[in-house]
């Protein structure tokens, strides 16, 4: 029980850190958001399940379950809202090669 809990907590923390590295290293807005949005949901789930295993009976588990449920709903929605707001304001993703970039720009004046 304890080992699995510690393992889950460690994986969760690793995912959080990798998301943080992603936000610093990735080139443009969308990839950065992708890095955080994907890792964060899994990382919170991992950490919360790890915490549940630390104290397997009682009210704490129920509260953590509710927090988990809320995060599973809210964090993908928040990422979606952020990305769609960026699209709405005509933020173009940075593309790898320059010809593609021009094409996209000319097709969306």
């Amino acid at each position: 029980m304890n080992i699995s809990s510690v393992l889950l907590l460690l994986i969760g923390s690793f995912l959080c850190i990798s998301g943080g590295v992603g936000i610093l290293r990735f080139p443009d807005f969308y990839t950065r958001m992708h890095a955080v949005g994907v890792t964060e949901t899994l990382a919170t789930a991992m950490i919360l399940i790890g915490l549940m295993l630390q104290n397997p009976d009682g009210l704490v588990v129920v509260k953590l379950m509710i927090i988990l449920l809320m995060t599973l709903f809210i964090s993908p929605t928040a990422s979606h809202a952020l990305a769609s707001a960026a699209v709405h304001n005509n933020l173009m993703p940075e593309l790898d090669n320059k010809e593609d970039n021009k094409k996209v720009k000319s097709s969306n004046p």
Partner: protein, 315 residues
């Protein structure tokens, strides 16, 4: 920093950070208030404000050097003032000598509420809290007096068609919000009535309640939200909150005790204290929630009017 949007986001982040250092100093009630008010609703209200003022700061005409001089003088005076204060965490500090020991030792016998913060806030210091509620109420009235938006019936149809186009756009957000709003309201009620036993109380609950309504108004359009909660109803509630608080005080006054001394409200003084705290927290919750919604509705309603005017001018 010229971009006001970034400034608002930074202030929200600052609010969240101060909430977390309050938690680490074991001041959970303060942290809760800071998280809901500083990071939550004030950020939201400032965002609504910049939809009206525009996103960038006007070029300043005064010289920055003068402002810097004033700040430096004031700051050094404040630092000079702190030299006389007792050391941080010193047990001899007046704040630990004067009333705090009495509150900590006697609160359980006199008020009987497990959360001492609530008993200090709502019973020992009830008059101060009353003042805070009146300040919030006055702020709401000020916004109403300055910004009260008069709507013409023709606008309603326009807004309705605008809402229909929005519906497709924010489909995901709307569906998730529909699922979340009942839980947010439920949580607000929990915070409201659990304030005696854990962190929480009228201020936080009111803010959370208002946040749920504001979320609804943002995603489903002002008009739909007004249909759920109309303006006069919410104004009535803002007044009822203050009135409830004040009348609890007057009842104890009429029964021959001090203003806001609740022990008279019931035969058993401790039950009276419980009842009094419950009632005034309810009053605080009413006023805070309705004033926040009033401020939001008036700012956003004015924004709609402005947009309509611009559309008419361009046509």
């Amino acid at each position: 920093m010229k971009d006001l949007f970034a400034v608002i986001m930074l202030s929200g982040i600052y609010g969240l950070l101060s909430a977390s250092f309050f938690v680490s100093m074991d001041a959970v009630d303060v942290a809760f208030t800071e998280a809901s008010v500083g990071a939550g609703i004030s950020t939201l209200l400032m965002l609504v404000a910049i939809t009206m003022t525009g996103r960038t700061e006007n070029p300043s005409r005064h010289k920055p050097l003068l402002a810097l001089a004033v700040v430096i003088v004031t700051g050094s005076l404040l630092i000079y003032g702190t030299l006389d204060m007792p050391y941080f965490g010193s047990a001899q500090a007046p704040i630990h000598q004067h009333v705090a020991p009495r509150y900590i030792n006697d609160s359980m016998q006199e008020v009987g509420v497990p959360n001492i913060v609530t008993s200090v806030l709502a019973s020992y210091r009830a008059f101060d809290t009353f003042g805070e509620v009146v300040v919030i109420f006055t702020a709401g009235m000020g916004v109403l007096a300055l910004l009260s938006a008069v709507r013409r019936p023709r606008d309603v149809a326009e807004i309705d068609s605008f809402n229909k186009s929005m519906y497709e756009e924010h489909l995901i957000l709307r569906i998730v919000a529909k699922m979340l709003i009942p839980f947010i309201l439920l949580f607000a009620l929990y915070v409201q009535f659990h304030g005696d036993y854990g962190p929480g109380g009228g201020f936080q609950a009111g803010v959370i309640f208002a946040a749920a309504i504001i979320l609804y108004a943002m995603l489903f359009g002002m008009n739909t939200a007004r249909r759920v909660i109309n303006q006069s109803f919410i104004q009535l509630f803002a007044a009822i909150g203050v009135l409830l608080y004040g009348s609890v005080g007057v009842i104890s006054l009429l029964n021959g005790k001090n203003f806001l001394d609740y022990s008279i409200l019931s035969a058993d003084p401790i039950a009276g204290q419980h009842l009094g705290i419950l009632l005034i927290e309810l009053g605080v919750g009413f006023t805070v929630a309705s004033v926040m919604v009033i401020i939001f509705f008036n700012f956003a309603g004015r924004r709609n009017n402005q947009q309509n005017k611009e559309n008419n001018d361009s046509c």
